[in-house]
Symmetry: C2
Subunit: 264 residues, 2 copies
DNA sequence: AAATTCAATTCCATTAAATGGAATATCCGG
DNA sequence: CCGGATATTCCATTTAATGGAATTGAATTT
């Protein structure tokens, strides 16, 4: 009985939850899946799934392509543009991120913790002709990103453990942390210094230093980071920026408490 | 009977539709609304709305802020990032947009028609440190944007009329088209030349030339444009680019028919 | 501090909508 | 034109959403 309830609360509860689960399946597919393919990955019966897909298409959350494959719909972009432009936390952080970028000359990221992942909220980078939007909205793992490790370090013990326990340690590079204990050790260091580092743990040649941002009650947890290519940014340079990044995080927290009210 | 069915299909049908309607209300609010405010704008009863909000928060489509106001949630960004990165039409168009940008030196936009609006899908611009996400996902009116007018010009007659009929002509600038007849006249010219222009109709100082993109059966309709500031881009320059923009649109359509199969 | 007001939340009998197994229609390659 | 796979529709059953009313909670005033 209890096990039944526990599994039920896991995901896909209610009509909306199931619809989101379907979106998730399609988002996770490497190519636009067709009906039968989605049916296989979902645990819904034919009739049900078909109607769900029809509804999602009707709402513009999915596009159905001429070959009957499904891809995420344009209304998601529409809502996301609104979400991004209107997000108060991001708006508060924005000037601080710009300042940090000016002082360091390297790329600055802002990310929030959500469902055991980092979701990048904003990015300020140099005048590179790289494609934009490369990062915003992207969900990345906690254990191999500066923002992720910074964020997790300020979580209440119980939640931190939950995050760590549910982590699967994919080895992105030779420097990627290998298991929960390595992560726990590193988090202790982050707690002491107030800074997290990514030492080419996610991508070879990319380094970063980050600092945590959080509400007093820790229900909201985020992070800010400066990222640069290893050839241009030495480990020492990175450490030199640590205080600056912490300062940016603190300034953002100050602004939050004054603008959103201190009882967060 | 028929009227009942017609009005029912309008909006907010089914559980999912109602949820989206709530998201829409919150997206449209100039500031994060609280429960009672949303209640007033929606036509749902208290209990119903409250549970809908709770569900949306649970799915990460809404955030609830410490002062009990609601803003759009981070999962929308997550899904949108996926939608953007995976969108095949955008991927096909991408190199063509870059090329058009290189040839003109001005900002290039790609937008699709959806629910009588243009939704911008991509943007290629010069090395400006302008904010990202400034345009992508944004929904703009048809009658005063190059992409919008280009798109509407290739719609089947019936749908075009539906779009025009439901348009309200807000006067953004002195050059904004004033009514349905002016729009109809202009569309006739676009059909002949294959190019649409925005002559400071949406924003003073901004000009643009666009061309339509469409599937053979016209169920998919989009547009590509080159936009620039009036002080740098004369009306003549713009006309000089018209063929180039049409060429880009045609090249994209060619790629579409080869990559997505010709029976679109 | 008690009283008043306004907003948010919970409850639960009723109602409406989602479900899902099976039948049917449609597409595609041979 | 046929056979096999895929997508779509149907409708009795089940499950989840509904919504009016009562409760809780928080802020404001007397």
């Amino acid at each position: 009985m209890t096990s039944k309830k526990a599994s039920a609360s896991k995901s896909g509860t209610g009509t909306l939850g199931k619809a989101m689960a379907v979106l998730g399946i399609i988002a996770a597919s490497p190519h636009p899946p067709r009906f039968t393919e989605i049916l296989r990955k979902s645990d819904q019966p034919r009739g049900t799934l078909h109607r769900q897909l029809t509804n999602l298409v009707e709402e513009g959350l999915l596009n159905i392509r001429p070959d009957m494959s499904y891809e995420l719909g344009y209304n998601l972009l529409k809502f996301a543009a609104s979400a991004w432009a209107g997000n108060e936390f991001r708006l508060i952080a924005e000037p601080h991120l710009s300042r940090l970028h000016e002082l360091t000359g390297e790329t600055v990221h802002l990310g929030v913790l959500r469902d055991g992942q980092v979701i990048y909220l904003d990015k300020v980078e140099g005048t590179q002709s790289v494609r934009m939007y490369s990062q915003i909205g992207n969900a990345s793992p906690l254990y191999c990103t500066g923002v992720g490790k910074a964020a997790i370090s300020v979580l209440p013990q119980a939640e931190m453990e939950k995050c760590i326990a549910s982590t699967i340690f994919h080895k992105y590079t030779d420097h990627t942390l290998k298991n929960a204990n390595e992560l726990r050790t590193e988090i202790e260091q982050i707690k002491l210094s107030g800074n997290a580092y990514d030492r080419e743990e996610h991508e070879i040649g990319i380094r970063c230093v980050a600092a945590p941002i959080y509400s007093p009650n820790r229900t909201f947890v985020a992070g800010v980071s400066v990222t640069g290519p290893a050839y241009r940014v030495s480990a020492d340079t990175l450490e030199g920026w640590a205080g600056l990044v912490r300062g940016t995080a603190n300034a953002i927290m100050d602004d939050m408490s004054t603008r959103l009210g201190p009882r967060t």
